[in-house]
C-alpha cells in the first residue's frame, strides 16, 4: 500500500480539548454519539444486529492494527477471533468458569496465539508470513474436527453463559448493545492512541521499508511482535465477548473460524480504508449491516433470476476488487480528501491567488463551520471562563 499517511502531530491536550478538533474529528464524535443513541430509536431485533456489527467492527480494527499498519497482511485473522471465543466458551461450559474470567482467559490465550504467529514474523517476510497466517486457522479447524468430542467439530459448541443476564429480554438486548458499544469505543481509542503514537509511526515505517527501520537502529521484529500481540488480544477479546452475547454470537466455526470470516474482515477493512483504524471501524459496521440487509432482500435480479440475498458475498467481493483497484485508500480517506476539497471550493475567493502564501482575512467559513465554531466558543467559555480572550485554535498553532 503506497497510500500517503497523515503525520499530523497533536498533543494529548489537543485530543482532550473538543474545541480544538478538526471538522472530521468532530463529525467522527457526532457519529459515535449517534451510534450510542441508536438503540433508543430502533427495535430490539435491529439492536441485536447492531451488536453483532459492533463486534465485527472491533475485529476489523484489530486486523488493521497489524495488517494495515505494519503491512504484515494476515489472511487468517479469524484464528485470534476463534481462539478467544472458543477458549472462553470451553472454560465456561467445561469448568464453569464465570463469563468475565473466561473472557479474560480467552483474551490472554489469543495474545499467546499472537506470539505464536508473530514470532515467525521475525523470520519470514511478506508473502511467506501471509501464507503462515492463511494456513494457521485451517490447521486449527482441522484440529477442531479431529477432536470433535471437545470442540464440537464443524457444528461448534453450545452457547455459553451470557455475560449479562436480566429478567427482561429488552433490557438484556440494550445492555448487551451498550457492552458492545463500550468495547467498540475502548478499542477505537486504544488503537488510535497506539497507532498515533511513536510506535505507530514505526509500524508504518516497517510497512514502507523494513530495512530502513533496522538501519535507523530500531528492531522491526520487536514492533511486529507487539503489533501481533496487541491485535490478537483485541481480536480475542472481541471473539470472547461475542460468544457470551446471547442471540448474537455462538462458538461455531461458521461464525468464528472459517476462511470466509478471515476474508470478510479484510474486505470490510479495505472498504473502509486500510491503515486508518477509523476506516475499518466504519467499514466493519457498514459491511455487517449491509450484508444483513442484502441477505434479507427478496428482490430478484431480472436477467439471471437469482434473489439478491444469494448474491451478497459476490457483490461485496466485486465491490472490493473495484475499490482496491480504483480507490486503494478506502472510503474514509476518500471522503476526508473530497470533503476538504469541497469545503475549500465552497469558500468565496477559493480560486483567487493569495500572495506569499498568506492567509485570507475575510470570514471564509462555511455555514457548517460557523455553526460548529459558535458551539466551540460557547463550550470554551464554559470550560475556561477566566480566559475569555484566549487565542483561537488556529493562532494557537502558530505560537507553538
Amino acid at each position: 500500500m503506497s497510500e500517503d499517511v497523515t503525520t499530523e502531530r497533536s498533543t494529548y491536550r489537543d485530543l482532550l480539548d473538543p474545541t480544538s478538533l478538526a471538522l472530521r474529528h468532530k463529525l467522527g464524535l457526532l457519529g459515535l454519539v449517534a451510534i450510542g443513541l441508536l438503540p433508543l430509536g430502533v427495535g430490539p431485533l435491529m439492536a441485536l444486529k447492531l451488536t453483532g456489527a459492533l463486534y465485527f467492527a472491533v475485529f476489523a480494527m484489530s486486523w488493521d492494527a497489524v495488517s494495515g499498519y505494519t503491512g504484515q497482511i494476515s489472511f487468517g485473522h479469524a484464528l485470534f477471533f476463534a481462539v478467544g471465543g472458543y477458549s472462553s466458551a470451553l472454560l465456561n461450559l467445561g469448568w464453569g468458569v464465570p463469563p468475565a474470567a473466561a473472557i479474560l482467559a480467552g483474551t490472554v490465550l489469543a495474545a499467546v496465539a499472537g506470539i505464536v504467529v508473530g514470532v515467525p514474523a521475525l523470520r519470514l517476510e511478506g508473502p511467506y508470513l501471509s501464507l503462515i497466517t492463511l494456513v494457521a486457522p485451517l490447521i486449527l479447524l482441522q484440529i477442531f474436527i479431529v477432536f470433535s468430542d471437545i470442540f464440537g467439530g464443524e457444528l461448534g459448541l453450545s452457547s455459553p453463559e451470557a455475560l449479562l443476564t436480566f429478567e427482561s429480554f429488552e433490557t438484556a438486548i440494550t445492555a448487551n448493545y451498550y457492552l458492545a458499544f463500550g468495547l467498540f469505543v475502548f478499542v477505537l481509542v486504544l488503537l488510535l492512541a497506539v497507532t498515533r503514537s511513536d510506535a505507530g509511526a514505526v509500524f508504518t515505517a516497517i510497512r514502507e521499508d523494513e530495512d530502513a527501520v533496522a538501519a535507523a537502529g530500531l528492531n522491526p521484529a520487536k514492533f511486529k511482535i507487539f503489533a501481533f500481540v496487541l491485535s490478537a488480544a483485541v481480536g480475542g477479546l472481541a471473539g470472547a465477548m461475542f460468544v457470551h452475547t446471547p442471540s448474537v454470537g455462538s462458538p461455531q466455526p461458521s461464525q468464528l473460524l472459517v476462511l470466509t470470516v478471515s476474508i470478510e474482515v479484510i474486505i470490510a477493512a479495505v472498504l473502509g480504508g486500510m491503515g486508518t483504524i477509523v476506516g475499518p471501524a466504519v467499514g466493519g459496521l457498514v459491511f455487517y449491516m449491509l450484508r444483513d440487509y442484502l441477505g434479507g432482500l427478496t428482490w430478484t435480479v431480472p436477467v439471471v433470476g437469482v434473489p439478491v440475498s444469494e448474491l451478497d458475498l459476490l457483490l461485496f467481493s466485486l465491490v472490493t476488487l473495484a475499490l482496491l483497484f480504483f480507490l486503494p485508500g478506502g472510503v474514509v480517506r476518500w471522503a476526508i480528501r473530497n470533503g476538504r476539497r469541497a469545503m475549500r471550493r465552497g469558500e468565496p475567493g477559493a480560486d483567487r491567488a493569495v500572495p506569499d502564501g498568506g492567509e485570507r482575512v475575510e470570514d471564509l467559513r462555511t455555514p457548517l463551520e460557523r455553526t460548529l465554531d459558535s458551539y466551540d466558543e460557547a463550550l470554551r467559555d464554559r470550560l475556561n471562563p477566566q480566559e475569555g480572550d484566549r487565542p483561537t485554535p488556529q493562532e494557537d498553532d502558530h505560537e507553538r
Partner: protein, 288 residues
C-alpha cells in the same frame, strides 16, 4: 501387503494430479514472483466448464476437457492482463486481489450451479488389473497425461526460444529485459500455461470425486505445501514435492485417521517454512 501396494498406487495417481496443479502455481511464483491465490478457483472453473459442456451442451467429455483447458487458460490470462499486471510490484496487493477474486468466482458458481456437488463423467471408463492391483483407467490416464504434460513443459522450457525466455525472466527480469525479452509477455505466457494446467487438473479432480464450488480450496492449500516443500519456482522440486505430499496424504488417511486429511500437509508446510523456507530445490528470489 497387497493393501499397501494398492494404497501406494493410489498415492502415485493422486500425486500426479497434485503435480499438475502445483507446477502451474510454481511457474507463476517462480517467473512472476507473485502468489496466485486464485489458482484453486481456476481449477474450479476448469471442472465446471467440463460439467457444463457435458451436462448442458451434451458434448463429449474429451471436448469438455479441451474446453476446460481453453476457458481456464483464458481466465488466468485475463486475470493477469486485467488486474495483476498493474499491481505485480506489490506482492501483498496481488495476494489480496487474487484471494478476493477466488471468493467472487466461488460465489458465481454458487449462484449459477448451486451448492450441490456435480458429477463429471470419467474420461476413460473401466478398470485396469495387473498383479492383483486394480486401478481406475481414468486415474491411470491422469498419471500418463500428467507426465506427458510435465515432460512437454520441461522440454519446452529448456529447448524452445520462448521457454528459454521464460526461464531467463524467472532468473532475472532485469537481465532478461537487457537482452530484449519482454517480461510482460513472459508473465502472460506463464499465467496462460498455469491456468490451462489447472483447468485440466480440475476436470480430473471433478471426475474422481465431484465438482463443487469449494473444490479448489483443498488443492490450493496442497499446492502451497508442495511448492514450499519443493522450493518455490523449481519445476522438479514441485514434481517431487507433489509425490511426497501425495504419499503423505494418502498414507495418513489410510493408516492413521481419515479425519486427518489435509492436516499432515499443512503441518509439513509450516515446518518447512520455519526450518528451511527455501525448500528442497529452491533458491532465494534473486531480486525484488
Amino acid at each position: 501387503m497387497v493393501n499397501v501396494l494398492t494404497t501406494a498406487v493410489n498415492a502415485v495417481m493422486i500425486s500426479a494430479l497434485y503435480a499438475l496443479v502445483a507446477i502451474g502455481f510454481t511457474l507463476i511464483f517462480g517467473v512472476g514472483g507473485v502468489l496466485n491465490l486464485a489458482h484453486g478457483a481456476t481449477l474450479t472453473i476448469g471442472a465446471f466448464t467440463a460439467y457444463y459442456a457435458t451436462a448442458a451442451l451434451g458434448l463429449g467429455i474429451w471436448t469438455g476437457t479441451l474446453a476446460a483447458l481453453v476457458v481456464a487458460g483464458l481466465f488466468s490470462a485475463v486475470l493477469y492482463l486485467g488486474m495483476i499486471r498493474w499491481v505485480q510490484d506489490e506482492p501483498i496487493m496481488v495476494m489480496i486481489l487474487t484471494l478476493v477474486t477466488s471468493i467472487a468466482v466461488e460465489q458465481v458458481f454458487v449462484v449459477v450451479f448451486g451448492t450441490q456437488p456435480k458429477a463429471i463423467p470419467s474420461l476413460l471408463p473401466g478398470q485396469l488389473s495387473a498383479a492383483g492391483i486394480t486401478v481406475q483407467t481414468n486415474q491411470a490416464l491422469t498419471f500418463a497425461l500428467s507426465w506427458l504434460l510435465i515432460g512437454a513443459l520441461i522440454v519446452a522450457v529448456n529447448y524452445t526460444q520462448t521457454g528459454k525466455a521464460i526461464l531467463a525472466t524467472s532468473m532475472s527480469a532485469k537481465g532478461a529485459a537487457l537482452v530484449g525479452i519482454e517480461s510482460d509477455r513472459m508473465y502472460l505466457y506463464t499465467w496462460l500455461l498455469a491456468g490451462a494446467l489447472a483447468g485440466v487438473a480440475g476436470v480430473f479432480l471433478g471426475s474422481f470425486r465431484t465438482a463443487s464450488y469449494t473444490m479448489g480450496r483443498g488443492p490450493l492449500v496442497l499446492s502451497f505445501s508442495i511448492v514450499v516443500l519443493g522450493g518455490i519456482g523449481s519445476i522438479r522440486g514441485s514434481v517431487l514435492g507433489a509425490y511426497l505430499i501425495g504419499f503423505l496424504e494418502v498414507f495418513v488417511v489410510s493408516y492413521v485417521d481419515s479425519s486427518l486429511s489435509g492436516l499432515a500437509s499443512l503441518v509439513v508446510l509450516v515446518v518447512v517454512l520455519l526450518v528451511k523456507p527455501e525448500g528442497l530445490f529452491g533458491r532465494e528470489l534473486a531480486e525484488a
